[in-house]
């Protein structure tokens, strides 16, 4: 399951020198296109609004204009609400990640290693929920949330995302290859099923857990639609909502806007560069999916 970078061996074709040069040229041009907007965000976050929209754009800021960051954090009204909003995003993403990992691991373990009547049906039902797009159920969920009075609260932000079917699928695929003998040996030694889960299964599934936790964290960090529906107060807003608001405000200048975007991106980019293999294995999982 763990992602390995493709073999370095040149396995598909041995291009001639000319073609080789062309491929390098193409790949580097595309890499520049793909990296440019991110670099643009960071360089522009250190420039005054005038410099950003000056033609031609100068990729190296003249002098580092830190005031953008100060302005971004302070907000146009000077309320420093962005700090609170970042904290909200962190709380939601961390809680959702923990609960998704925990419940997905439990269900995945149950589906992979226990034989019970109706197991296949349960598996089908859980996979079936993957077909229900969030966009199709957001209105009923919103009505339920307002009826329960949990709109505009952490509970409301977190509740609809506590488990997801993809996580269960991922964990099940991981546990299926786990040797039964070890579990049976633990049972003979008198371990309870919960103890087996806690002391054998969890410590041995770090790669799968890390992949799932990171994917979930990223999805929540990114989530716009649900908070947009249920959050009303400034205090409960998450980062995407703050960005939307900041952009719509009259006195926002482009430099501060980019600083706000950069602040939102730095944590996730750091995690990405530190733990890139888990990000990539998240993408790779799809192609190992069979039937």
């Amino acid at each position: 399951m763990q992602y390995r970078l493709a073999e370095k061996k040149n396995k598909y074709f041995l291009p001639s020198l000319l073609i080789n040069i062309f491929i390098w040229f193409f790949l580097i041009m595309m890499a520049m296109f793909i990296l440019m907007p991110t670099i643009f965000m960071f360089t522009a976050s250190f420039m005054t609004a005038n410099d950003i929209l000056k033609m031609p754009y100068r990729w190296i800021p003249k002098d580092f204009y830190w005031k953008n960051y100060w302005q971004g954090i302070k907000g146009n009204d000077g309320s420093f609400i962005y700090v609170r909003n970042i904290l909200n995003s962190l709380i939601v993403a961390v809680v959702v990640s923990i609960s998704t990992v925990l419940f997905s691991a439990l269900a995945g373990f149950g589906l992979a290693k226990y034989y019970f009547k109706g197991r296949n049906l349960v598996f089908m039902i859980i996979m079936g929920t993957m077909m229900i797009p969030f966009e199709a159920i957001m209105i009923p969920l919103y009505l339920v949330a307002t009826r329960l009075g949990i709109q505009d609260s952490y509970l409301g932000l977190i509740l609809p995302f506590l488990v997801n079917a993809f996580g269960i699928f991922l964990m099940r695929q991981f546990f299926i290859t786990f040797p039964d003998e070890i579990l049976d040996a633990a049972r003979i030694d008198g371990a309870s099923e919960l103890m087996i889960f806690r002391t054998i299964i969890l410590p041995n599934s770090v790669p799968a857990i890390a992949t799932l936790a990171i994917l979930t964290f990223k999805a929540q960090w990114d989530n716009l639609l649900w908070p947009l529906l249920i959050v009303q107060s400034e205090e409960m807003k998450t980062i995407p909502l703050y960005i939307v608001k900041f952009m719509a405000e009259k006195h926002t200048d482009e430099g501060a806007m980019m600083a706000v975007a950069a602040i939102a991106s730095i944590p996730i980019l750091l995690v990405f560069f530190k733990l890139s293999k888990y990000f990539l294995s998240g993408a790779a999982l799809y192609s190992s999916r069979k039937g």
């Binding site: 970078l5 493709a6 073999e7 370095k8 598909y12 074709f13 291009p15 491929i23 595309m30 890499a31 296109f33 793909i34 990296l35 907007p37 991110t38 643009f40 950003i52 929209l53 419940f103 269900a107 589906l111 226990y114 019970f116 197991r119 859980i126 929920t129 077909m131 229900i132 797009p133 199709a136 209105i139 009923p140 969920l141 009505l143 339920v144 609809p160 506590l162 488990v163 079917a165 269960i168 960090w221 990114d222 716009l224 947009l228 529906l229 980062i239 995407p240 939307v244 952009m247 806007m257 939102a264 991106s265 996730i268 990539l280 993408a283 790779a284 799809y286 192609s287 999916r289 039937g291």
Partner: protein, 303 residues
């Protein structure tokens, strides 16, 4: 005869634990997936308004017939389909090309994969904000395009023109997700055994033939997978269009179905109508998932 009974009871106990492990998730899904989708269907049969105290009127399929006659709804269908086709086809083609090229490199494979994947890490709100600034009349978008086309000083109206704004949203989405699908293709390529190429070499195949007769056919399951995932993702697009509209772009050309659901429910308070739209979106996506299921079953490949 006590022994078989003992095994039987151990099995029973294990079965019980299986249920206990699965139960929390099952309960969760019934409450937060199945119940809402059933309520969405139920609500779609009523004329229901948000915040209204009077009981909703039952109008059977009234919301659906209304939608089928509404030009606004058909505009949303058009916007969604144009966006989906215009985004997923370039993503499919380019991610395959990128994957083949990157896999053929002896050096910097790692770096290239990370670089191409990196936009997928940024949040879609951040992506939209960056591109809004690039598409500013005085921004980088015009500078690049004018440089390529040798047309100094022309404003290409990235956000104002109704065709351009659609292209702009597609470009943002393409930029953000092409690397993600490149990785999926690279993994698919890596799973093709080297021995097949060696056999082809003995049989005198050249690179071009290898690509057409070996790589591409063996990559068929990955290709189907990528096209279905990317298509489903495009059908659900929301953030880019929402942000572009907030940033001053006209709504009509980019009023995709999810955006329309959101506006119908929250701005117009038409819960019944929004639910009907949700159900239509759900059915479309079910259809695609079903196609994926069918085709992936038929295309199991063994080497």
């Amino acid at each position: 005869m006590s022994k078989p009974k003992l095994i039987y009871s151990i099995e029973r106990q294990k079965a019980r634990w299986g249920w206990i492990f699965v139960a929390p998730s099952l309960i969760f899904f019934s409450l937060f997936s199945f119940y809402p989708i059933l309520t969405a269907f139920y609500t779609s049969l009523f004329k229901k308004r948000l915040l209204s105290l009077k009981p909703p009127d039952f109008i059977a399929l009234g919301n659906y017939t209304y939608l089928l006659k509404s030009p606004d709804f058909w505009n949303s269908m058009r916007a969604t389909i144009v966006f989906t086709l215009g985004t997923f086809i370039p993503i499919l083609v380019f991610s395959l090309i990128f994957a083949i090229f990157i896999s053929s490199r002896k050096r910097f494979q790692n770096f290239l994969q990370l670089a191409y994947y990196s936009p997928a890490v940024l949040s879609s709100v951040v992506a939209a904000v960056i591109w809004l600034l690039i598409f500013d009349p005085r921004g980088l978008g015009n500078q690049w395009l004018n440089f390529i086309l040798h047309t100094p000083g022309v404003d290409h109206k990235w956000l104002a023109n109704s065709v351009m704004v659609q292209l702009s949203t597609m470009l943002v989405y393409f930029w953000k997700y092409v690397g993600y699908f490149t990785i999926i293709f690279i993994v698919g390529l890596a799973s093709i055994p080297q021995s097949i190429y060696e056999a082809a070499k003995i049989d005198g195949g050249n690179d071009w033939k290898n690509f057409w007769y070996i790589t591409l056919p063996l990559l068929k399951p990955t290709t189907i997978l990528v096209s279905i995932i990317s298509m489903l993702q495009c059908l659900r697009t929301f953030s880019t269009q929402y942000l572009f509209n907030q940033g001053g772009a006209p709504l009509a050309p980019i009023n995709v179905i999810t955006l329309n659901i959101y506006h119908t429910a929250i701005r117009d308070h038409q819960i019944g109508r929004a639910s009907a739209m949700s159900i239509i979106l759900f059915i479309i996506m079910m259809l695609f998932t079903w196609i994926q299921f069918k085709t992936s079953r038929a295309d199991e490949i063994s080497y």
